[in-house]
């Protein structure tokens, strides 16, 4: 197996008395789409900045495509990495095409015109290629930022909130585009506050909180780790909800009342017939019963202590 394209080992970053990253360790293997999740201020963007050499770690090692900031090969590693960090950072008074030309020149790409046209078409802003970037909506700026990140066929793409400002159809398009990138030989690290999007587009996820790693692995491993998906969704008459909760809890099961007669039941349950039997014995008839779908949002909330579902 090849070496991970991104490796952070014991990274600590302090801003005065504030510790933004506290011994963070993470790896992104080649050929994957890896999600980076965490509540606001958890240190995701700081970690990305350290990786790209924009910020210095107080201690620890950050390796990007095998090079550390300060290494002779580090500029080459950065040039092979496309990035979109905290918004697209465009020259507002230059056109979309000019913005891409400037970035292509900065990355040492010659004769980029055909690639620029292709990428503008890929992110569906060809028609506005010669409009000034400051006239773009946030969604269009994000698309342009994504096109810039893909310039030069990078080995690795780091995207911070790539779907920010996009409409629902735009989110789907960008999600599909990101999912497709490993087929082009591109590894992706994506940070997003849209947990459902991360679940849909990523093979792996890393969850950090208060600068510390709290979960890391394949999406299945993470979903399984919190027990999400082990429960059952139970629907009863609203008038019978209280009695249902009492009956189920008496049998040692954990019940979450979602209101309107909707309950989540967890615990040692062999199959759905057990819930049916318990409630029937109490004279309660089920209106519906289904297996709880594994949900990254629930994992995220349980792992971060429910501090915020809005990861930055």
């Amino acid at each position: 197996m090849s070496a991970p394209l991104i490796q952070l080992e014991g990274i600590t970053k302090r801003f005065g008395s504030i510790t933004a990253l506290d011994g963070l360790t993470l790896e992104v293997p080649e050929g994957t789409v890896c999600g980076l999740l965490g509540p606001n201020g958890s240190g995701k963007t700081t970690a990305i900045r350290i990786l790209l050499g924009l910020s210095r770690a107080t201690s620890g090692d950050a390796t990007l495509l095998g090079s550390e900031p300060g290494d002779r090969d580090f500029p080459t590693a950065v040039r092979q990495t496309g990035s979109l960090i905290e918004g697209p950072a465009l020259y507002g008074r230059a056109t979309a095409r000019q913005n891409m030309e400037i970035q292509a020149a900065a990355r040492g790409i010659d004769n980029a015109q055909s690639e620029i046209a292709e990428l503008l078409s890929l992110v569906k802003i060809s028609e506005r290629a010669d409009s000034k970037a400051r006239t773009f909506s946030l969604g269009m700026k994000q698309r342009l930022g994504l096109a810039i990140a893909l310039l030069g066929g990078p080995r690795l793409v780091i995207l911070d909130e790539p779907t920010n400002g996009l409409d629902p159809s735009g989110i789907v398009e960008i999600r599909e585009l990101i999912k497709e990138l490993p087929n082009r030989g591109v590894t992706v690290l994506v940070s997003s506050h849209l947990l459902s999007e991360v679940q849909l587009m990523c093979d792996r996820a890393t969850i950090i909180n208060k600068g510390k790693l709290i979960a890391n692995g394949t999406m299945d491993e993470i979903l399984a780790s919190s027990g999400a998906g082990d429960g059952w969704k139970v629907y009863v008459r609203i008038s019978q909800a209280e009695a249902s909760i009492k009956s189920l809890e008496e049998r040692g099961l954990q019940v979450i009342d979602n209101g309107q007669g909707s309950l989540i039941v967890r615990g040692s349950i062999e199959d759905d017939s057990e819930i049916t039997r318990i409630l029937a014995e109490s004279g309660i008839w089920l209106r519906g019963l289904m297996r709880e779908t594994p949900n990254l949002e629930r994992v995220f909330m349980s792992l971060t202590g429910g501090e915020s579902g809005d990861a930055d």
Partner: protein, 241 residues
């Protein structure tokens, strides 16, 4: 350097600065037709050299400040993280543009203003125009380097422009009033240098001629190295947001 030239070509500030210079040039040409070129190539000094000095300051500030004003520094460094390379590319591009613009406008100005002012009392003194042009190139390079350095130091377009103007028009002038020490300010030393080159008693930094040209050159270089070094050091050391 190609990246920086692309920015100069694509973004409006250099274009507007160029247009402003052109407007001043045309104004000087009109004045030369009406009133002549004046004593000691006055129209060339006022309509070409002084605007070029201001424009150099503006471009020096802009070439560094554009990344802070547009918040694009992170994208620039995420494409090529070599910060020292970035700083020197910017410096080289702005200095090249300023030399080219100063030489071109001074040469064309001397020729056209001379023709336009013919028939009036004073005509263009070619030797003075040449020497004055060389002195202007130097003072413009200093203005651009200082503007860029102070912008790198403040990490802000507006901050850079403000502090550059304060530096040249207030701080330097005030410091130059201090007996003896005042001769070693950037304005005084570079003024001595431009006087030595142009042979005129009036430099862009005011009346001068207190230091030997070699000493003035050393003091000027020391100031530039100090300011540019401070700006570069801050750029190298500071985290990019």
């Amino acid at each position: 350097m190609r990246t920086e030239f692309l920015k100069v070509r694509s973004l409006p500030t250099p274009l507007w600065t160029g247009l402003a210079l052109l407007l001043c040039f045309v104004g000087g040409l009109a004045a030369s037709v009406i009133w002549g070129v004046g004593e000691d190539n006055a129209s060339l000094e006022v309509a070409v050299n002084f605007p070029l000095w201001i424009a150099s300051m503006v471009l020096g500030v802009w070439i560094a400040g554009v990344e802070f004003g547009q918040n694009t520094m992170r994208r620039v460094l995420a494409a090529d993280p070599r910060r020292i390379h970035l700083i020197f590319s910017k410096l080289a591009v702005v200095l090249l543009i300023i030399v080219a613009a100063t030489v071109a406008l001074d040469l064309v100005g001397a020729l056209l203003y001379g023709l336009a002012g013919s028939g009036h009392t004073y005509s263009i003194d070619s030797e003075l125009a040449l020497r004055s042009g060389a002195a202007t190139v130097l003072s413009n390079l200093i203005a651009a380097a200082v503007g860029m350095s102070l912008t790198l130091l403040t990490r802000s377009m507006a901050g850079g422009l403000t502090i550059t103007l304060v530096f040249f028009f207030v701080l330097d002038s005030v410091l130059s009033l201090i007996p003896k020490v005042g001769h070693y300010t950037l304005g005084a030393a570079s003024g001595d240098l431009t006087v030595a080159i142009s042979g005129s008693t009036n430099g862009n930094f005011g009346e001068a001629a207190n230091l030997h040209p070699a000493t003035a050159a050393l003091v000027t270089v020391a100031w530039i190295v100090l300011l540019f070094g401070a700006g570069a050091y801050r750029t190298l050391q500071t985290d990019v947001k």
